[in-house]
């Protein structure tokens, strides 16, 4: 049986998403928070039949270690509502990000974004998560998701 997430981990995740991206805390209130292995936080359906032993449920939305790391899956779903720490890429850099490459950003591109996990966008589309450190974006896109996109 999949375990429910602790109140503390749920609160820590929601507080982080609000503080870092300005996502409202009630945004995910239609769903249940579950605990995965190694600090994973999973968002899934409210009701899971207790007689079932699921392999997994819902969507991995974050991992809690020393801090909270949001998942690309989550940012692709709710990223259009994020109001800070969002960087919009041009076509070439968006293509590089989707391919899995790290990015070097200009001061203008960074604007008032602070170091830490960021949402990368292209046009209106939330692409996924990156880690901004001193103008350098470490690509956090899971390897299986990386793709050579020809049309964007």
């Amino acid at each position: 049986m999949i375990e429910h997430c602790s109140d503390n981990d749920k609160a820590m995740t929601l507080e982080y998403l609000e503080r870092r991206f300005g996502l409202p805390p009630d945004l995910l209130s239609d769903f249940e928070f579950y605990a995965g292995p190694n600090g994973r936080v999973i968002l899934g359906p409210r009701h899971i039949d207790p007689c079932l032993s699921p392999d997994t449920a819902g969507l991995l939305i974050a991992r809690i270690g020393n801090s909270v790391k949001p998942s690309t899956n989550l940012l692709q779903v709710v990223g259009s509502l994020a109001v800070r720490n969002v960087i919009t890429l041009d076509r070439d850099k968006a293509s590089q990000y989707i391919k899995g490459l790290d990015l070097k950003l200009t001061v203008e591109e960074i604007g008032d974004t602070t170091d830490g996990y960021i949402l990368l966008k292209y046009l209106v589309f939330p692409l996924g998560c990156g880690l901004l450190q001193a103008g350098h974006v470490k690509n956090m896109l899971p390897k299986a998701k990386r793709l050579e996109v020809k049309y964007l």
């Binding site: 769903f31 039949d49 292209y122 050579e148």
Partner: protein, 319 residues
Amino acid sequence: MSVDSHPCVGYTPPDMILQVPPAFAERYAPLVDDLAAFVEIMTTPLPKSFRVNTLKATTDEVTPRFSEYGITIKQAPWYTDAFISDNPALGSTLEHFLGIIYIQELTSMLPPLLVREELRGARSVLDACAAPGSKTTQLSALMNNRGTIVANDVEYERIRPLKFNLERSGTLNAVVTNYDLRSFPQTHFDVILLDAPCTSEGIFRKNPRQMLSWSPKRIAPSAHRQKQLIIKTFDLLTPGGVMIYSTCTFAPEENEGVVDHLLRERPAELEPIEIPHFRLMAGITEWNDLTFDARTRLTARVLPHHNDTGGFFLARIKK
């Protein structure tokens, strides 16, 4: 046996074209309305198709993007979210990367459509043979991420692509299980899809090499397993609930024969199937020396030359 030495091979490089095995054409001559058209289309490549994932975007948002790309797409007349394209580059689009479109065969979109109304109020749905997740993600979109879908598959190695596709499409209301259906815990669901493992004769257009291994000897063991699965799945249905039994094969033994078995063993009812602007062939009641329950006429077969699709079979079953 190598492809080159197989008697089905009519012409090889540059694009290997296989011929329909003569015994296959002979077997299904009594079943189809136009044997020449049926045989001809079986060696014609299947058009590419995709579904707009309405969890992430609307068709009105997606179609202009493809115009900008110069990729021609055509909306299916029977499903506003379904599109056909002869462009092989669908998998290289931003929309595919983001899970805004889901590359899916047209026939695979039919079972969820047949329970569209029931899904709106469903609290629990079972996709009994779910991998790789095409129908599960479509169910989730039709449910707008509400309720709970149990996406089950018996093959563990198919669970990983299933999870990947659920994640990419933003499916939040699904749980993944890995049971052999025959030992699935005794619980109940409002709606069930049983897209049963089958001899896959309907995917010859997608995978012509399947023709090389076609043999009528594979049909009986497949039907035997399907009869076990349909009984178990029906027993998981809430009274008043609806299930769709489907296969991607033509063999009546795996289709009407399996539904007939259910009607004999359980108090199941069949309901008529109609999809506006999509041509279906009514189920049959006799096949070789077999006679099926007269209600199997309410089942439906998709013949590839009727809608330029793969082959498929559908039954809508009420408890």
